[in-house]
Subunit: 667 residues, 2 copies
């Protein structure tokens, strides 16, 4: 299996004992997560092929500079082409989706793919026929230049201009002020020869808004910058050292008329502007990206962090739980359980949320092919909301895992700092989370109003019409292990937050506040409503998933426990939302607390098998704390000795020696 | 003044306009924060002297490797000796405390000071007379080796041994297993020649527990490791690249009997163990460190983060708040205010908490000199609890500031990533936060039981005896701007959490659960009680401080607003704690929300003056986003061009060129 012991040999007995008492079959759970045993087999084959190839090694990653990381990422990207050919992997094959996970994303040319996708989606047939083969054969390296120094979220505000010159049949591209400079595009700082650049289109002095253009930025012969182009790397970031995020200044750069991507909009030779086809598909592209990043960029690192922190917490012993006994495993402390086990439950919950979103997306995609765009608003609202909620939760979760490992978690060698600094970016890119939640909230308010007026609304929000003024019927703590009880509580909270905020909004407008001001004054509460909606859907979907699981091999039982924990943790951490209007009483909240704390002790027994099921290899985790054999201290020591900080430093001869020998004055 | 504009010149008009409408005198507020105008003058003189000296420059910090950072920190530490001499600054002078802030802590030999302090506190007069002059004159470089690979929190579990050999009158030091290796001591990886090492003392086969020993680890001549010593650097961490945190293995290293620090305990030549004096002073040392780190390591970086994020948020314009108008400053969005302004309020709140702790500490210190140790338990409980609460809050706050700046916050050039990765460590070192909160909780439970039995308790916890079963008397949202109202609410919540947990603990024990198990089963709730206690004290202290402030120059008024915001934010973010037993009704909670959101709009007007008052120079902030002139985009661009990633990379010749020229197969 992929999870073989390391060179260090035998498994730490404190870790081994955790595996002997698993209440379920780990291999079956892995297959469930993968979507079937065959998928598991394919994934492991990809992992094996990648990890056995030294070019893809990440062993020295924590010791490398930004320049070294970039060079390694380019080397890997180039080598990957060869590898795929050797292995017979294709972009449409079943192996493809596992490659990125196996590489832990540590590879260049990811924006080259976005370059290709944007041409495929936004380009005319002729443009596709010209550029896609060049890109596929790597006769050019593409990037995607949208974000500017001054604008990210608000695309209409982009300041780069493309002025059509009828005389020469060219567009003249400019970044007329410093804030118009393109800033952040990946692969652009040092690698790209071409980019798709977004600019405000001007024809005969009239602005037609943002359009995409293909632009060459570097020579194909010697990689020098093309005339009128200034470009470079934006420098150090919190992570993504492997990516050359770049800047781009344009000074009267001329490109032919044919370089405007023209599937939906075209500029005729005489300057006539023609819009054709539906623009709604663009909307759909953002949805695609937001859903696809959840798995690779968010859930995988989150699951890695859970694996590292939980394995470490059964190997680390500190202080005594019972006087006179051996020091206790730190996972036996309730406070440690309360940090880590809700993260584990959330990892499973969001894995199933992701499946739900994928399924919804696939249905939406099929409908779009039938020219039916009805599902788009719901899909947009859910993908925006869940992108925000899942990235936020998992980022906080990785930080909790890091801190739960104490000082050793703070060492880069634990793997946790780089997981954190990378996942944090997911809260910002592809839509800043607050902005996204407000989009979800706008949808909720609209649907709430429609539902209140008796109009039909999409399936995920029909519940908004059904506000009941009842009370939670739970009578004892065991009742809170019933999904009906907690789903109803989540639903009630979501409806209350949405309806209260809708009422506040209406009150403000009726009292004479202008609509946009009223909206702004409600945004803090709108964000709460959007989060509550997503949380409700996630809990409901987890419970429904558990219902349908196979009852064999202990799988359903342990998933039910995790579902309960996920639900009760959410209530316990946010009691006010449930207590507010008296739906849940204080006595019931004490029952929630009791059931929640009981569950921690139950799940603690299966904690290690539950992370083993994520099936990360040691190379993939790249962590001194998280390896399968749990030989934590040996690994930290052996690894630290290889650090460049253990080479001789000039600081001794230059500063320490003169200081100690009292010869400083001679300096 | 220290806040002069940068070389870039004129102040961004969007930032300048924020300063014209200040409701208070910034300079007076700065003086208040410093503890008087004279202190401000001294601080600025130190800052000026440090920042005008190029050796102390931090300009290239974000581009440097760990090795380069270490070398620079040593250079600065050595140069600082010279500088202090030149400037006439002494360790007991008024300038001393500002040096570290002016250097942003980016300097070596901090553990050398801990080495000296531990000898001063734990050493005999003879030892002090021998070692302190050597250390002061830097004839040796000291470190402090306590933490081991396997033990941090639980000192009794340390595994390093010191066996007394009566025949030679030596101690034989060993790290008998890998987990016994010293791990983390600063200045030890590469610099130190000596260290104070903690080890289990054995005499004639009997263990006497942990004791401190002075040990030489490197030659004073050539810096080579002494016989029996293995030492080195533990490698990369999330921050602290400038510090050579080290490891240390000991193999039968012999040191003379005189090297055991023997103020409190001594081993006589025949092996007789003598304990003398009080050990309680050790307890007090930890308290000292925990209180002292709050200001330098936590509040200063937190205030920097607030300064950067708030200045950026009035310069950054994005999207339109009102149709047809200019794009809005992002600080005009309610959601952005809700992220940043509570952080600003917390920065002021904790500044005053820190003053409160300092004062308490000074009184405690005076009492100890009179051999009265009565204040120690309270001081220990408060310093532990506040260390945890403040580090936790400020770490989360810096993350919020970072994310509130979107993509630009994620660039190292914003300064925010390094503030975050550094402040995060404060949650872990000098007592892991959960452990500390449980110490506070233990004190609370003890005092609650005592108070319930009518026994006297320390002043900060007398309120525990006064549980009232009343209701919050607020009738409208303005009532929640009355400190009496919200202080009472905080007090009620703290008492309820403490008394409920005490009751649960007793119930468990009475039902037959063993005492240590019962304690463990209550720890999640005990942590909540400890936090509530600290939060109550912080709110109460802020309100009391505001009461006493000068009413002139608008100072008291703006501080009152911040106090209200701090208090109401705490309620708004944790409504369940106040709703739980019906002390606050749902209708009252809606009033809290309304008042809280109103306050955001009020404080937003003074946001920039409130961060200007922190009085950080541009060099001290070291941030492209936070400079006094607000020329954000120019700075990002100019700075990025200096990044080493804008030098030629071998990746082009090696990988990109062969790929683009289709000559890869020749490789």
């Amino acid at each position: 299996p992929a999870l073989t012991g390391s060179a260090l040999g035998s498994v730490n007995p404190d870790l081994a004992s955790e595996r002997q008492t698993a209440s379920f079959c780990v291999e079956r759970l892995t297959a469930l997560l993968d979507g079937g045993a065959e998928q598991t087999r394919i994934r492991r084959a990809v992992v094996e092929a990648i990890e056995s190839d030294p070019v893809f090694s990440r062993e020295n990653q924590y010791f490398q500079t930004q320049n070294e990381r970039y060079e390694a990422a380019v080397r890997k990207a180039v080598h990957l082409q060869k590898k795929m050919h050797e292995m017979g992997w294709t972009e449409n094959g079943p192996e493809y989706k596992y490659i990125y996970r196996a590489l832990s994303g540590d590879v260049a040319f990811l924006l080259h793919r976005v370059f290709m996708r944007s041409i495929s989606v936004l380009g005319s047939d002729k443009q596709v026929a010209k550029w896609i083969p060049l890109a596929t054969q790597h006769k050019l390296i593409g990037s995607y230049a949208q974000t500017e120094l001054g604008h990210g979220t608000y695309l209409q505000g982009l300041e780069t201009t493309a002025v059509f010159d009828t005389a020469t049949q060219e567009f003249i591209l400019n970044t007329p002020k410093i804030s118009a400079m393109k800033w952040w595009p990946g692969d652009m700082g040092r690698s790209a020869t071409h980019t798709v650049v977004f600019a405000q289109l001007y024809i005969h002095g009239k602005c037609y808004g943002i359009h995409p253009f293909i632009l060459q930025i570097r020579s194909l012969q010697d990689h020098s910058l093309c005339p009128g182009i200034t470009a470079g790397d934006i420098g150090p970031k919190m992570n993504f050292e492997h990516t050359d995020n770049g800047y781009l200044l344009l000074k009267s750069v001329r490109i032919p008329r044919e370089n405007m991507l023209s599937k939906f909009c075209e500029v005729r030779p005489d300057g006539t502007y023609v819009r054709q086809g539906s623009q709604q598909i663009n909307y759909f592209t953002m949805t695609t990206v937001r859903i696809s990043l959840i798995s690779d960029e968010v859930l995988t690192p989150f699951m890695k962090a859970c694996t590292i922190a939980i394995r470490y917490s059964v190997v680390r012993r500190q202080s005594k739980l019972k006087p006179g006994e051996q020091e206790a495993k730190i996972l036996d402390y309730q406070t440690q359980q309360e940090k880590l086990l809700p993260q584990l439950a959330a990892a499973y919950a969001f894995h199933f949320t992701n499946n739900y979103l994928q399924e919804l997306f696939n249905r939406g995609y099929a409908e779009i092919h039938r020219k039916n765009f009805d599902m788009l608003p719901e899909l947009h609202a859910l993908s925006s909301g869940f992108k925000a909620v899942i990235t936020q939760h998992c980022t906080a979760g990785v930080e909790i895992c890091l801190r739960a490992c104490g000082g050793h978690g703070y060492s880069l060698l634990s793997g946790l700092p780089s997981l954190y600094t990378k996942i944090l970016a997911s809260c910002i890119y592809e839509g800043e989370n607050t902005i996204l939640l407000l989009q979800t909230a706008r949808f909720l308010i609209k649907c709430f109003m429609a539902a209140s007026a008796g109009q039909p609304v999409p399936p995920s929000v029909t519940y908004l019409a059904a506000m009941k003024h009842g009370k939670c019927p739970a009578k004892n703590k065991l009742d809170f292990l019933s999904p009906d009880i907690y789903i109803e509580a989540y639903q009630h909270a979501a409806v209350r937050l949405t309806s209260n905020t809708a009422a506040k909004l209406q009150d403000l407008i009726q009292s004479g506040v202008k609509k946009h001001d009223a909206w702004n004054q409600c945004t803090v509460q709108l964000v709460q409503a959007a989060k509550a909606h997503c949380h409700y859907i996630a809990v409901k979907n987890f419970a429904e998933t558990v219902e349908k699981l196979e009852t064999k091999a202990g799988i359903q039982k342990i998933m039910k426990h995790l579902c309960d924990l996920f639900a009760l943790h959410g209530i316990f951490s946010n009691t006010g939302a449930f207590l507010h209007d008296g739906y849940t009483s204080a006595a019931q909240m004490d029952m929630v607390t009791a059931s929640y704390l009981d569950l921690l002790a139950v799940i603690r027994k299966d904690a290690v098998p539950l992370v083993d099921a994520f099936d990360f290899t040691d190379k993939c985790l790249n962590s001194a704390l998280g390896s399968y054999d749990g030989q934590v201290y040996q690994r930290l020591y052996e690894w630290a000795q290889k650090s460049p900080t253990n080479q001789m430093s000039p600081a001794y001869e230059r500063y320490l020696k003169p200081l100690l020998h009292n010869t400083l004055s001679k300096l």
